[in-house]
């Protein structure tokens, strides 16, 4: 499979704090990579670096072989190819759900209005929210908002999707409705990088797992092996913290 995203030896520092040091990661087309690690290990920052919401101090990030960095002139064009969904949903509160979905395709891609609307309605239907098309974000539950946020990212036909702890702000009973959507995207072969604390979901969705701790990738590998036969003590300890027996 061809490589779509290549992270080469990147380091991220704030003044004297090192978030991560010389991290490298490759994502192939159609692959689902799930990143886990203790709070504050820099996994969210890593995702934010991928679409240049954060700058890096060392190394480089390539999407389809093209270097991405915050000073690129065509940054917004690069970002079109990278869909990102955040923990806080961040739908635009002054727009209806349908308008939220259509804003970027119409303004950024100058897409045809009729077709964009058709696609938006189809995708809304797919996540079970067609009836909410004319609602405003505040009229939706957290889980519904997050499903809309996923659809909003899909509307740009991204080559890769980044999910940054998208269920962390949700009530427990809403987590599944969101993760089911992500799982169905994984099954249709979308390329995704997911940061999550939901281990069962990680196991179900991931082709490859990455464990970050202490500013570096401690262990990575095939999902089954990662959970059933961890190689490092740190990962074993981390995984144990999720079980109750």
């Amino acid at each position: 499979m061809e490589t779509i995203l290549e992270i080469k030896n990147i380091s991220k520092r704030y003044d004297d704090i090192t978030v991560f040091e010389k991290i490298s990661l490759t994502v192939k087309r159609g692959e689902v990579v799930v990143i886990v690690g203790p709070s504050g290990c820099g996994k969210s920052t890593l995702l934010r670096c991928i679409n240049s919401l954060e700058d890096i101090q060392e190394g480089e990030i390539l999407l389809d072989g093209v270097v991405i960095n915050p000073t690129s002139k065509d940054l917004s064009q690069v970002r079109e190819k990278i869909g990102m969904v955040f923990q806080s949903y961040d739908l635009f509160p002054h727009l209806t759900i349908l308008q939220n979905l259509m804003l970027a395709p119409l303004k950024v891609k100058k897409a045809d209005k009729k077709e964009t609307k058709k696609e938006a309605l189809e995708l809304l239907d797919r996540v079970g929210l067609l009836s909410k098309k004319d609602s405003y974000p505040r009229q939706l539950s957290g889980g519904q908002k997050q499903r809309v946020a996923i659809v909003r990212a899909l509307m740009m036909h991204p080559e890769i999707l980044l999910f940054d702890e998208i269920t962390a702000a949700l009530d427990p009973e809403m987590v599944k409705e969101v993760l089911d959507v992500v799982l169905s995207l994984a099954r249709e072969g979308r390329t995704m990088v997911i940061v999550t604390h939901e281990m069962q979901f990680a196991r179900a969705a991931a082709d490859r797992m990455v464990f970050i701790d202490g500013a570096t990738i401690v262990e990575e590998g095939d999902a089954k092996e990662f959970f059933d036969d961890p190689k490092t003590d740190r990962l074993r300890k981390f995984l144990r913290s999720f079980s109750y027996d």
Binding site: L53, Q77, R79, E80, S88, D90, F92, P93, H94, R138
Partner: protein, 219 residues
């Protein structure tokens, strides 16, 4: 109360009403324009301009309109800048209102969460598109209550115009009382005309606020 007197006064009040309304609204539009420019300068930290904008806001927010009007009407002619009373009133109101509007609009701009900007950038919007389609409309909907309050406040401030002999409602009432001593009729008409001027603004304001509130809370 003598209905005969009221009938006699009515045309005078009507004329004053039109002048007050005209000067007031020109002043408010000016205030809004100044407010937007000043708020942008401060919010975007435009070099030099943001400093000037901050000084302007503090200067005009912390001096009474009466003093500002005296300055424009009586002091400026001394340096050869003579401005008609009505223009003085509108400009004075615009400058005072501009400082209030600027603060209202800036607080709206500052209140839009950074995460909103990030999610728009992540969708591929340019900085300009982000501002036009996301930040500005959101900021305005947050600022609406402050803007409506300012409009009402500024319309009431027009009563100070009488001090620079502008024939506004207040001036007309004071003038008539001085001339004929029909105090009750003159004052009742004054109150009625102010209410006619302000009530629609107040009602329209609440309707807009209610519509906008539905959208702003929670994203």
């Amino acid at each position: 109360m003598n209905p005969e007197v009221i009938r006699e006064y009515l045309p005078l009040y009507k004329e004053a009403f039109i002048l007050t309304l005209r000067t007031g609204w020109i002043g408010i539009l000016l205030a809004f324009a100044i407010g937007i420019l000043v708020a942008f300068a401060i919010h975007f930290r435009v070099p030099v301009l943001s400093k000037i904008a901050s000084v302007y806001v503090e200067l005009f927010r912390n001096t009474p309109l009466l003093v500002q009007l005296f300055f424009i009407y009586f002091a400026l002619p001394k340096i050869g800048l003579s401005i008609p009373a009505e223009t003085c009133g509108a400009v004075g109101l615009g400058l005072l209102g501009g400082s209030y509007m600027a603060e209202g609009i800036r607080s709206g701009l500052d209140a839009v969460p950074v995460s909103q900007e990030e999610s728009a950038l992540a969708l591929g919007l340019t900085k300009r598109q982000l501002f036009t389609y996301v930040v500005f409309p959101e900021a305005m909907s947050i600022s609406i209550p402050a803007i409506v309050a300012n409009v009402i406040f500024l319309l009431k401030e027009t009563s100070v115009f009488s001090a620079i002999s502008l024939m506004d409602l207040m001036f007309t009432a004071k003038d008539l009382i001085g001339l004929y001593y029909d105090t009750t009729e003159a004052l009742v008409l004054l109150v009625v005309f102010y209410i006619i001027m302000l009530l629609p603004v107040s009602i329209l304001g609440s309707i807009i606020e209610k519509r906008v509130r539905l959208r702003t809370l929670g994203g």
